[in-house]
Structure formats: C-alpha cells, structure tokens
Amino acid sequence: METGLLLIFLAFFFNLAATLSFFLAFRQKNPKIAEVAEILIYSALALTTAAVILLVYYFLTDNFSLYYVYVNSQRAMSNIYKLSAIWAGKEGSLLLWNFFNLLVLSIFLSYGEKNLAKVKASLLASGISSYLLFLLILTSNPFESLPTSPLDGVGMNPLLRTPEMIFHPPLVFLAYSLSIIPFAMHFVKFGDPYKYMRAAFIFLTLGIFLGGFWAYRTLGWGGFWGWDPVENASLLPWLAMAAYIHSKNRSFFAYINFLFVILATFITRSGIISSVHSFSDGGGELYIVLIIFAGILAFKELKGGFKDPCQASYIFSAMIIVVAMGTFANLFFDVNRLYFLTTFIPLFALLIFIVVFKIRMVKRRLLLHFGLILLFIGALSVWGFEEGYTIELSPSAEVEGIQFVLKNISLSEDAEKYTFTVQIESKVGNFSPKMYVYKTERQNKVVSAVDIRSDFLKDYYVAVKSVDVNLKSAVINFYVVPLVSLVWLGAAVTFIGIIVKK
C-alpha cells in the first residue's frame, strides 16, 4: 500500500477509535477514557498532517507516478503553484478539509473546561470527521499510483494559476471545519460556540472575497459574482453564519449552516446540479446522510418556534431561501441571473436600510456595517449599471464614442505557456491585455489576463477574446464597470470590522 494511503487509513482508524472511546466515556461517565480519546484524536491529526506533508513532497519533487500529481502538476509550474495545486482537485482539497477538521477538533479538545457535555460534543465532532475521512478513502484517494511514471504532468487548470487561488480554498475549508464545532456544541447544549462561529465567519468572508476578486481579475467577464451554483454553495453557509451572529435562535442557524457546508460539497461532487457546473465522480450521495441529519435537527429546532427580535435574522433567512431556491432550481433548469438580482438586491437594500436607520443599535459594529454599506453601493452599481461590448479590432473600432486602435500583437513563449500581448490605444487609456495559451492537455488552456484602467468611479476593463493567427486582428471584451472599487473597499472594511469588533 502507498505510504500516503496508509497514513490516511491509520488516521481513520485512530479517529474511529477516538469516536468509540468518546462514546464509552460518555456512557460510563469516565474521564479517563475521554483522555484516551483525546490522545487518539491528536494521533489522527499527526497522521493526517504527515499525509499532507507527503503530498506536498510529491508535488514539489514532481512525482508523476501518482495520478493526482500527474493530473494537477507540471515541471514548468513554479513551486508556489505546485503547492497550491494540492487543493486544485477534489482529492487534495478533501484531504486538506479532513486535516482542518482534526486540527480544529484538537484545538477544541485542548482548551476550555472538560466535562461530560464536552465529551458528548467531541463524540459528535469526532464522528463527523471520521465519516469524512472514510469518504476520502472510499472515493477520493489522492495517493493513487499509475502503473508507469510519466516524464511530465498534465498541469494544474491554468485558471487556477493565480495568487488568489493559493489562499482561497484553504480559507473556505478552514471556515467549514470551524463551523462543525458550533454544530456539535449546540447539539449537546455545551458552552459558548460563538467564538468558533465568528472565526469561521472571518475565514469564510475572506475566502469568498478572494474568490470574487479572482473571478474579476481572471475570468474576463467583468464581474465578481456570477450566481453560479458553486459560488452560491459557499454563499449559503456565509448567510447562515451571518444569521447565526444576529439571531437568538442560534441552534437553528448552526444546524442550517452545517447542512449548507455539507451541501456545498455534495453539490459539486455529485453532479446533481447541471453538468456544466459540477463533477460526477461518484460518492457524492454519501454526504446525504449528514445533510439529512442536520436537516432533521434544524426542523426540530424550528418546531420549537422561531421568535427573533432582530429583523436582520429574518432578512438573512429570506436571503438564504431565495439563494437556495435558485440553486436548487438549477437541478432541472437554467435559472436566469435576473432572478437572483431581483430577489437578492431588495433584501440587501432592506438590510442596509435597517443598518442606516437603526444605527444606534449597531454602533458597536460601526466599521463592519459601514463596510457593508460601501459593498452594497458597489455591488448594486456593478450588477445594475455595468456595460459590456465585444469589439473586433482589425485594426480599429469605435464603441460609445471611444475609438480603440490595435497597435500591435506580440507573441512570446516560456516553458509553461505562449503569451499573446495585445497593445491597444484609446482615449480612456492604453491597454495591454494578454491571452495565455498553456502547454497542457487540459481544457481551459486559453486564459485571459485582463488589463484594467481605474479611477475611483469606474474601471475600464479589457480582456482578449481571441487573436488572429497572423497577429493582424483581435477580438476583445470591453467593460465599463462603475464603482467596483467600492466592492473591494467595502469588503476590506467589512473584514476589518469583523476582526476588530468596532
């Protein structure tokens, strides 16, 4: 057996043994057994850490005898992208998630009071992490070997070879792991889970904003949020966390949040959402067990009555429902983006209205809510007033009174890719957008590197759509994006506001 898989197997058995030990400790009210369980969890963490380090080593040493390394790495890639390639695919990202699950559980066990309720909460959290480790072994082994060792790999998806993608997935998975603890603590009514949920909220906020920034800079369509099911899948837990923070019905939102965390994985792994957005590789249905479990708990909590003095939690609930309805409708249909805009924006506006006119109530979080107002203005401007054009330059064209002149197209090559640089002159600025054609057998080998000229009020955004093989003409996408700077500023202020509690 491959060493990495052996490490994961051992981690699973230690985790399972810990779960059984927590169960025995709870049944027999025996703190000694709980201490053994705790040591077993630390051991499982050490083994998972070793598996992650081993995978890092395989990536950095170009060990293409491993299928996962072969598919996601390439000799020409820089070391930093070889590192981020670890979470570029399903297997590596799930290994990372399991590592975070055990890390967070270990932190939970190490700090705070130790009593029977904590043992019960640990039993649930340990049970969840061992189940997810089991799914990793069953469906997503990152250490699967190839019969021969290829000289080079296929390479990471070129769209992911950006600095944002080094941080975005780990932040999201860390947030998901952190939110399991509040779920378990609410289930057994133990302690104050708020700090865990707040930490999860901080990491998920940063992760989502980085994802939006990456989409804007990399995908070349002039937007930061496309209401894609995969994007929505990460927005739903974020909304549930926001509702949790504002609500008095915290157990309900802790369960709903956990449900969405698992659902996010299920959506992208099962192929249940239309085939353009997900990968059906089997095993996704096994997540349903956890979704049903969380759903039953949430329903039971709701039956107890939903009385909340804070209007914000009603608004967040409505946001969750409209986003979830649109995402689920994608099971069978194409959902027009306008649905999300016409339902989500009024709720967002109502939220901002409450923030502005009830400022006395929220003054403790002035910075956070000020950031939210900036974010709303920016997002509304982009969603409502962005203008986009497809322009063929052979060699010039005029759009909305702006003359674009193609000055030059140059072609260069390095070990990783070919680069077409298109130089364009216009009265709103000179642009040098690029089009990369990566030397990989992957799809999406053509990636646009946009060029943006910004003032505070608007971005002039140019992306290359195609170039003529004779380098005489090019087709570009040109966008005028109003107030997008407020989206980034608002996001930054919101994030700082969450951290500093001002």
Binding site: F279, V322, D334, K465, V469
Partner: protein
Amino acid sequence: MAKLALLGFIVFISLAAVVLFHSISPYLTPSQIVGMGEAKNVKVIGKTKEVSINGNSTIFKITDGKTEILAVYNGILDVISEEIVAVGDWNGNFLIAKEILQKCHTEYGG
C-alpha cells in the same frame, strides 16, 4: 412587530417563488432545436465535435448523440468532445453562439 415581520417574510418568499417560476428555462438538446424556427437566446446542451478555428471564430458541431447542429462562436473555443452549454441565437440552420459555458472552473467545492 414579530407577526408583521413574519407576514412580510412569507409574502416576499411567495413573490420570489413567482419570479423564479418566470426565470427558469430548460436547456435544449440539438434534437429539440433542429425542428425549431428562429429563436433568440437559446441554451443548447451537448458535446462539441469537429472543432475548427477560422480567423477569430470557432466553427464546431454540437451533438446529443442522435442529432448534431452547426455552431459558430466569435472567439477561441478550446474544449473538444466536452459537454458544454452554448448560449446564442438559432437562425434555423446554425447557432450563433455568444457564450460558451463549460464545466466549473474551480473543479471542486472550494
């Protein structure tokens, strides 16, 4: 106050359901679209084949295994034999694709 908020909540969700009902449209397969007349902004799902680049445009076929239609995209399409959704105008003979949707760029739920 709580009852009023709950009422507003229920009314809004009901309205959202109505908006959703009017915002959904099915994906069409080549077999379905081939018998249609002109249609704007259709979304055709299928696999690409016979992809060729002509200047700044890509000419290719979309097939559902039974029927295939011709499509033209003003840009470079680098996906071969992969399932796509082509968004564009159908003129009765071929699809003028304005947007090509491919598998998710993230490839996982991150």
